[in-house]
C-alpha cells in the first residue's frame, strides 16, 4: 500500500489535465431543480442580471418564461439572440440559433431547459449537444434542468413517479459542470405555487397535481436532487484534493463490470452499474460477449446491444466487446484481467428449458467468479421486449427439409427393416438428425430428433402403427435415441454456428486485409484516394465519398460512383465531422437526418480527412459493419498520411536537387563567363599598352584570341538561354519538313572556324526520308555535339558525322577519335552542369551543351545516347522518328 500512497500524494496527471481542459472550455453552471416550477429559470435570470451589472457580456440563447410575469421582468436589459426558424412537415418551429450564438461570441449565454429535444433538421438532436458545442467554443453557459431528466436516474424516477421521461441528458453534463446550484423548494411550497397558478395555467395545474405533483413524488424527487448534488460536491472535493495532492481517506480502487446481454433489461443494468460506480467512486465498464450465436440474432437485437454499449459510453463508462464461446467463462476471464471487483448481471430472461440444457449463465458466473462479487439485477420487465424472432421463411424451409430428411430415413429403414435389427435402424434416423444439425442448425435438428422418435415408434416399434411401446427394452432404446439425437443436434449445431461465426469474422478480416493490401499497393495521394473510394464502394455496396481538408475548407477529393451526389446539408455534416473528429449523419447524434454517414479518418496524430458513406433512406448501418467501416476509415487515413508524407519527402528531394543544381550552375557560370572575359580584357590591355612593341604576328595572335574567346562567351550565353527556355517550357518547336542532310550542312557551315583543325568525314545516306523537326534547334544540337567532339579530341584527328535509316527512325551519329567518355560519366553525361573532368586538358566546357541536346531531341520525340566506340573515341547517337513523311506534292516532281 505504500506505493499506492506515493502515487496519491503526487498530483495526478489526469486530474490536472481535466482541470486544465476545463479552463480552456467555457464554464457550465447548472440550475438543478427537483420538479418543474421550483424557480430555476427565475434563479438563472437573477444570477445573469448580477453578472450583467458586473459588466459581463451576457446574452440569452433561449429562455422559456411560460408567461410568468415576474420571470419576464428579469429579461430586461438582456440581449436575446433571435431564434432560428425550422420548417418541419409544414410547421414552422423555432429553435435556439446555435450558429448565431457562436458567431456573436458572448462571454456568457443562457440556455434554458437543457433536456429539450430539438426539431428534426437541427444540427444536433438534443439541446445539451448544442450546449457542449458552445462550451467547446470557450463560451460560458448557464442552464436549467430537472433531476428527472438525468440518464442514470431514469429508472429510479420512473419507479417513483410511474412516468418514464423521454427527454434525458447524459450524467457527464452534470459531472463536468463547473457549478451546480440546487434550486430547492419544499413540496408544500411548490404545491402552493402550483395552486396559485404560478407554474401552470389553472386547468393544467389541476391535472399536473393529480398525476405528477403528488407530495410523495415531490419528496422523493427532492431527495434525489439533494443526493445528486451532494455527490457532486463530494466529487469536486476529490478532484481538488487529487490535483493538490492532499492525501485523503480514499476508498479502495473498485472496478465494476456490467455484463451486457441481448435481453431488454440491459439498459437498466448499465444505469444501475453507473449509479453504483458513482456511489463507490469506482471505475466501471460494460462488456458484451460475442458468441457464435450472436450472428443468429435479429438486426434489432444486435442494434439494441450496440445501443446499450453506447449508453454505457455516454454515461462515462468503458464499453468492450469480446469474442468467445462460453459467456460466463469469458466474462470472468476478462473481469480478472481488468481487476474487476464487482460483476453486475441481469436476471436471465432465457426459458427454463434452455437453462437446463446449456446451464444458466448467472449460475456459471457465480460458480466461476472466485473472489469477485456478483450482483444480479432484476429485470423490471416493463421495457418493451422485442418481438420474439419468428422463424423466417428460410427457417421454415429448414424445418420442411428436416422433415424430408426424416421421411427419407424412414423409407430407407422400411426397406432395410427385414435385414437389420431394430436398434440398428435407429442409426439411420440419427444420420438424418445429424444431417439437419449440420446443414440447418439447432432448431431444425431438434425438430428432426423428435420427429424421428415419433416415426420410429410409430412404424418400427412393436406394436407398429401406434405410439405405444410394448417391451421395456424398446422404451430404453427410444429414450436413448432421443438423448443421443438431441445431444448430437446440439453439438453439430454448435459446430455449425462456430463455423459460421468464424466465416463471418474471416470475411470481415478479409475485407480489411484486402483493403489494407490495396492501400499499401497504391502510390501517390490520388491513387490512394481512388483506391479507398473504389474498394469501399465494391466491398460495402454503398456510395463512398472522401473529403480532405484544403486550407480552411473541406474538399471532396474522391467519390465512387462518380455521379453520386453530396448535397449541401451532407457537406455541412462532413465539415462538422472534420472539425470535431466525431461521426455525423445517419445513425449518429449529429445531423441524423442526413442520408450519409460521415466518419473521421484518424491517423496517429490527426484527423486527415472525412469518409462519407451513403445510407439508403430508412436503412441503418449495423454495429459490426460500422465497426468495420471505422477500421477501414482509419486504415485509409494512415494510407493518406503516408501518401502525403511521401509527397512532402519528394518535394524535399526536388528542393535538394534544385539546390545542388543552383550551386553547380553558379560555379559553372562564374567559371565560364570569367575565363573568356579574363582572356579578352588581358589581351586588349596588352594591345593598348603604348610602351610595348609587338610584331604584327603577335598582334594578330592576340586579336584572334580575343575573337575566339568572344565566340566562346557567345556560345555559353546561348546555351544558358536555351537551357532557360527548355526549363521554363517556353521552348516552342517550330517544326517543318526538313532533310537531315540540310541540317548537317548548316551546322557544319556555321561552325567551320572552330572545326578548322579537324578533318571531317560526313556520310549522309542518300534518299533519307524527310523529318518533321525544328531546323534551328536541331542545328543547335549538331553544333553542340560537334563542339563537344572538337573539345574532347586532339587537333588533327577526324570527326565523323553520319546519318542513316534504322527501321522507322533516322540515326545521326557524331563520332570523335578522342579518349572516349570515362565509364563513371556515361550515365550522367547529359545531366545539367555535369562536366567530364578533362585532367590537365583545356576547359571541359560548360556542362550545358549535352543537356540542351537531350532536351531538344526529346522534345522531338527522339532519343540521344552516348557510348564509347570499339575503335576508341566517343559516339553520340541521335535517333529521330520518321513521322510518316511530308504531304504529297500537288504536282509531279519535274524529272531532271
Amino acid at each position: 500500500m505504500t506505493e499506492h500512497d506515493d502515487s496519491e500524494r503526487r498530483p495526478s496527471p489526469d486530474a490536472l489535465l481535466s482541470m486544465a481542459q476545463q479552463e480552456q472550455r467555457g464554464r457550465l453552471k447548472v440550475f438543478l431543480g427537483a420538479a418543474p416550477g421550483v424557480g430555476k429559470t427565475y434563479a438563472m435570470l437573477e444570477a445573469a442580471q448580477v453578472r450583467r451589472r458586473e459588466g459581463i457580456d451576457v446574452v440569452i440563447g433561449v429562455v422559456e418564461t411560460h408567461g410568468r410575469q415576474e420571470t419576464e421582468a428579469l429579461l430586461e436589459g438582456l440581449e436575446v439572440i433571435p431564434r432560428q426558424r425550422i420548417e418541419y412537415k409544414g410547421h414552422a418551429l423555432t429553435e435556439m440559433n446555435l450558429d448565431a450564438i457562436l458567431a456573436r461570441r458572448p462571454k456568457l449565454v443562457l440556455v434554458d431547459e437543457l433536456a429539450h429535444t430539438n426539431a428534426p433538421g437541427s444540427r444536433h438532436p438534443k439541446r445539451y449537444q448544442d450546449v457542449e458545442e458552445i462550451l467547446a467554443a470557450a463560451i460560458d453557459v448557464y442552464t436549467t434542468v430537472n433531476i428527472q431528466h438525468l440518464e442514470s436516474l431514469n429508472d429510479v424516477v420512473a419507479q417513483i413517479t410511474g412516468i418514464r421521461v423521454a427527454e434525458r441528458i447524459p450524467d457527464r453534463l452534470l459531472d463536468r459542470a463547473d457549478e451546480i446550484e440546487l434550486i430547492d423548494l419544499s413540496p408544500d411550497e411548490l404545491l402552493q405555487r402550483l395552486r396559485e397558478g404560478k407554474v401552470y395555467v389553472p386547468e393544467q395545474a389541476e391535472k399536473a397535481v393529480r398525476n405528477y405533483f403528488r407530495p410523495g413524488n415531490l419528496t422523493a424527487l427532492r431527495e434525489l436532487s439533494l443526493r445528486r448534488t451532494a455527490q457532486r460536491v463530494d466529487d469536486q472535493m476529490r478532484t481538488y484534493m487529487h490535483a493538490h495532492a492532499i492525501p485523503g481517506p480514499w476508498p479502495t480502487q473498485d472496478r465494476i463490470m456490467a455484463c451486457v446481454s441481448a435481453g431488454p433489461g440491459s439498459e437498466r443494468l448499465v444505469r444501475s452499474s453507473k449509479i453504483r460506480a458513482d456511489r463507490r467512486h469506482a471505475e466501471w465498464l460494460a462488456v458484451y460477449v460475442e458468441t457464435p450465436a450472436h450472428y443468429r440474432r435479429s438486426e434489432a437485437e444486435r442494434d439494441r446491444i450496440a445501443q446499450t454499449l453506447r449508453l454505457a459510453e455516454q454515461l462515462g463508462g468503458e464499453a468492450a466487446v469480446i469474442p468467445g464461446e462460453n459467456v460466463a467463462e469469458e466474462l470472468v476471464r476478462y473481469a480478472k484481467s481488468r481487476n474487476v471487483t464487482e460483476l453486475m448481471i441481469g436476471k436471465s430472461s432465457r426459458p427454463r428449458w434452455r437453462e437446463i440444457l446449456s446451464g444458466s449463465i448467472v449460475n456459471n458466473l457465480i460458480r466461476l467468479s472466485g473472489n469477485i462479487d456478483v450482483y444480479v439485477i432484476t429485470d423490471e420487465g416493463k421495457q418493451a421486449s422485442l418481438p420474439a424472432t419468428r422463424p423466417s421463411p428460410r427457417h421454415l424451409d429448414a424445418y420442411v427439409w428436416s422433415a424430408v430428411a426424416v421421411s427419407v430415413a424412414a423409407l430407407v429403414a422400411r426397406v432395410l427393416d427385414d435385414v437389420l435389427t431394430l436398434p440398428n435402424l435407429s442409426m439411420i434416423f440419427l444420420a438424418a438428425v445429424l444431417l439437419s444439425a449440420t446443414i440447418w442448425g439447432l432448431g431444425p435438428s431438434i425438430f428432426a430428433s423428435i420427429l424421428s422418435i415419433l416415426v420410429y415408434d410409430f412404424f418400427f416399434v412393436e406394436p407398429t402403427f401406434t405410439l405405444t411401446v410394448a417391451s421395456p427394452q424398446d422404451v430404453f432404446a427410444l429414450v436413448m435415441l432421443l438423448i443421443v439425437a438431441i445431444l448430437t443436434s446440439n453439438l453439430a449445431g454448435r459446430v455449425r454456428d462456430q463455423a459460421r461465426a468464424a466465416r463471418r469474422r474471416e470475411a470481415r478480416t478479409n475485407v480489411l486485409y484486402e483493403f489494407s493490401r490495396e492501400m499499401a499497393a497504391s502510390a501517390g495521394l490520388d491513387n490512394v484516394l481512388r483506391a479507398i473510394a473504389k474498394d469501399l464502394h465494391e466491398s460495402q455496396g454503398m456510395d463512398v465519398a472522401v473529403f480532405l481538408p484544403r486550407g480552411t475548407t473541406l474538399d471532396l477529393s474522391a467519390i465512387q460512383p462518380t455521379d453520386a451526389i453530396v448535397d449541401a446539408q451532407a457537406r455541412a455534416a462532413a465539415t462538422w465531422t472534420w472539425q470535431h473528429s466525431e461521426a455525423t449523419g445517419s445513425g449518429t447524434d449529429t445531423l441524423p437526418g442526413v442520408n450519409w454517414l460521415f466518419l473521421p479518418m484518424q491517423a496517429a496524430q490527426t484527423t486527415v480527412g472525412v469518409l462519407g458513406l451513403r445510407v439508403e433512406k430508412g436503412k441503418t448501418i449495423a454495429p459490426d459493419q460500422r465497426r468495420l467501416l471505422v477500421a477501414m476509415a482509419n486504415q485509409g487515413a494512415v494510407a493518406i498520411e503516408r501518401a502525403e508524407l511521401a509527397a512532402v519527402m519528394e518535394e524535399t528531394r526536388v528542393l535538394a536537387e534544385t539546390e545542388r543544381l543552383r550551386t553547380a550552375m553558379l560555379s559553372s557560370i562564374s567559371h565560364d563567363l570569367r575565363t573568356p572575359l579574363a582572356t579578352i580584357s588581358g589581351a586588349t590591355e596588352t594591345l593598348l599598352d603604348m610602351d610595348a612593341e609587338y610584331t604584327p604576328e603577335e598582334q594578330r595572335d592576340l586579336l584572334e584570341t580575343i575573337q575566339e574567346e568572344a565566340a566562346r562567351l557567345n556560345r555559353f550565353v546561348g546555351n544558358l538561354l536555351d537551357m532557360t527556355r527548355l526549363e521554363s517550357g517556353a521552348l516552342e518547336l517550330n517544326c517543318d519538313w526538313v532533310e537531315i542532310g540540310d541540317v548537317i550542312g548548316a551546322a557544319l557551315g556555321r561552325e567551320a572556324s572552330f572545326l578548322a583543325n579537324y578533318r571531317l568525314d560526313v556520310d549522309v545516306e542518300p534518299r533519307l526520308p524527310m523529318l518533321h523537326l525544328d531546323f534551328v534547334l536541331m542545328e543547335q544540337v549538331l553544333v553542340n555535339l560537334l563542339d563537344n567532339a572538337a573539345k574532347f579530341s586532339p587537333p588533327g584527328t577526324t570527326i565523323h558525322l553520319s546519318a542513316q535509316k534504322a527501321g522507322k527512325m533516322v540515326q545521326v551519329d557524331v563520332m570523335d577519335e578522342g579518349p572516349g567518355i570515362p565509364l563513371e560519366d556515361l550515365k550522367r553525361i547529359f545531366d545539367k552542369f555535369h562536366r567530364v573532368r578533362g585532367g590537365d586538358r583545356r576547359s571541359a566546357g560548360t556542362g550545358l551543351g549535352l543537356s540542351i541536346c537531350q532536351g531538344i531531341v526529346e522534345a522531338h520525340g527522339g532519343a540521344i545516347e552516348a557510348s564509347n566506340r570499339a575503335e576508341g573515341g566517343a559516339l553520340f547517337r541521335i535517333t529521330l522518328p520518321v513521322n510518316g513523311g511530308p504531304p504529297k506534292m500537288r504536282q509531279e516532281l519535274d524529272g531532271g
Partner: protein, 238 residues
C-alpha cells in the same frame, strides 16, 4: 558605286555598338550617322536622306519592326536589320515588312559589310542587268537559261532552274521561304516549304561539289536561303 562616300545611318540604343560601328564602318570609308531611338531614326531618315539604314530591332521607344513599317510608307531606302539570335520570326517579319537583309548579333564585321555591299549593289542596279552570273565554278547565263559547272552544262528541271534564277537575281541577299515559293510556284504555295526543301536538295546534288557542305546555296536556318556572293568569302558566324 559613285565617288561620294556612302552614308550609313546606324540605329542602336547601345552606345558601344554605335561606337564600334562608327569606327569600323569609317575604316571602310562609309560616312556614319547615328540614332539611338526609333523616332529619331525615322526623323533622320527623312531629313538626312542616308543611303542605307542599319537598324537594331530592340529599341527603347518604338519597336524596330514598326520603324521599318513606317519608313516603308514613304521610302524605299535599303534597310539591314540587326537582331539577337534565335528570333527567326522577327527576322522573317522584318523581311516581310520590307527590310532587305539581316545580320544576327553578335556579328562579324565582314558579314555586315558583305550584306551592305550586296544590298546596295541590288539597289543601284535594280534587277540584274548582267545576263551572265559568275560565282566560282558556277556560271548561270540568264539569257540562254544555261547553267554550267567548270564549263560543263548542268541539266536542271524547270523548277530547279527557277529557284536558282531567283537566287542569282538576288545573289548575296537572303530569300525567305515564302518569297521563293511565291516566285517559283506562285501565290497559294507559301506554306509548302517541303517543296522548296526537296528541290533545293536536288539542286545542290547537281551544282554543289559536296551537297552536305554547300558552297553556293546556303541555308539560313528558319528563314530561307541565300546564294553566297563570290566576294562574301567569310563563313557567316553567329
Amino acid at each position: 558605286m559613285g565617288e561620294q562616300p556612302v552614308r550609313v545611318l546606324v540605329v542602336d540604343d547601345e552606345p558601344q555598338i554605335r561606337r564600334f560601328l562608327r569606327t569600323s564602318l569609317g575604316a571602310y570609308h562609309y560616312q556614319v550617322a547615328e540614332a539611338a531611338r526609333g523616332e529619331e531614326a525615322i526623323a533622320k531618315t527623312a531629313t538626312d536622306r542616308p543611303d542605307i539604314l542599319v537598324l537594331d530591332l530592340g529599341l527603347p521607344d518604338v519597336d524596330g519592326l514598326d520603324v521599318i513599317r513606317r519608313i516603308r510608307e514613304w521610302s524605299s531606302i535599303p534597310i539591314i536589320v540587326l537582331s539577337v539570335r534565335d528570333r527567326e520570326t522577327d527576322k522573317i517579319q522584318a523581311l516581310d515588312y520590307g527590310a532587305d537583309d539581316y545580320v544576327t548579333k553578335p556579328f562579324s564585321m565582314g558579314e555586315l559589310l558583305a550584306r551592305i555591299r550586296a544590298t546596295l549593289r541590288h539597289r543601284l542596279r535594280g534587277e540584274t542587268d548582267q545576263p551572265v552570273y559568275h560565282n566560282g565554278a558556277l556560271t548561270v547565263d540568264l539569257a540562254r537559261r544555261l547553267v554550267t559547272i567548270d564549263g560543263r552544262e548542268v541539266r536542271l528541271a524547270p523548277k530547279e532552274y527557277e529557284i536558282l534564277r531567283t537566287l542569282v537575281v538576288h545573289s548575296g541577299k537572303v530569300m525567305t521561304h515564302q518569297q521563293l515559293l511565291r516566285q517559283v510556284w506562285g501565290l497559294g504555295y507559301e506554306n509548302e516549304t517541303h517543296y522548296l526543301r526537296v528541290h533545293i536538295g536536288q539542286l545542290r546534288q547537281k551544282i554543289e561539289a559536296d551537297p552536305a557542305q554547300p558552297r553556293y546555296i546556303i541555308t539560313e536556318p528558319g528563314v530561307g536561303y541565300r546564294l553566297r556572293d563570290p566576294e562574301d568569302n567569310r563563313a557567316p558566324e553567329r
